[in-house]
Symmetry: C2
Subunit: 125 residues, 2 copies
Amino acid sequence: MKVNDDARPKASPIPGIAHITLASHADGLSELSVWRQTMSPGAATPPHHHDCDEVVLCLAGWGEVHSHGQVQRFGADATLILPAGRDHQIFNVGPTPLETIGILAATPVVTRQPDGVELTLPWKS
Amino acid sequence: MKVNDDARPKASPIPGIAHITLASHADGLSELSVWRQTMSPGAATPPHHHDCDEVVLCLAGWGEVHSHGQVQRFGADATLILPAGRDHQIFNVGPTPLETIGILAATPVVTRQPDGVELTLPWKS
């Protein structure tokens, strides 16, 4: 058992995305990685998928998730369900930071471009 | 891809604990279950463990987690790391509701008393 107290995202190498890994294999887990991110207005993730299930919780702001031709707008208290292997891209479409919790069922997390090529994440996962 | 909009915990059969399952196998996942709970002042979970990794995020209030003789107090923005199989019990030790997100690396989730006997959860997991 361990308690981490810092939950403030820090600037990352991806423009417009601040990130902190709240929980991962570095904390003794083998099945979960939990991230907190802040996305600036106008910013977006690259299109990608993971080899594991993902859930994204929106804490504040307004976003849009695009996945396989579907587009859904979301705001605070929305839960995004992204089963393993589904390509998706998340945009901040509001005037304020988009605050999210990213929950992934693996650690480390494998992240791939839609063509299957692995993306190297700039943070521990 | 699916977006759930309701994140408000509802009264559960466990006294002092309101619960909503934000994401689970009912949403098409096979590896993750995500819960949001509100625990009333003075309330506690039973001592228990899961067969999978768990992470608890504290959104508001003050709690205490007891696990294998360790006691740690926590507040908003704390992340509790509870690897698979570790007994734990969470108490609301503050004067306000304890608001948490429970993240589990399985769906449905197996929950056991410290003696290993399975506890039947009163919600879908």
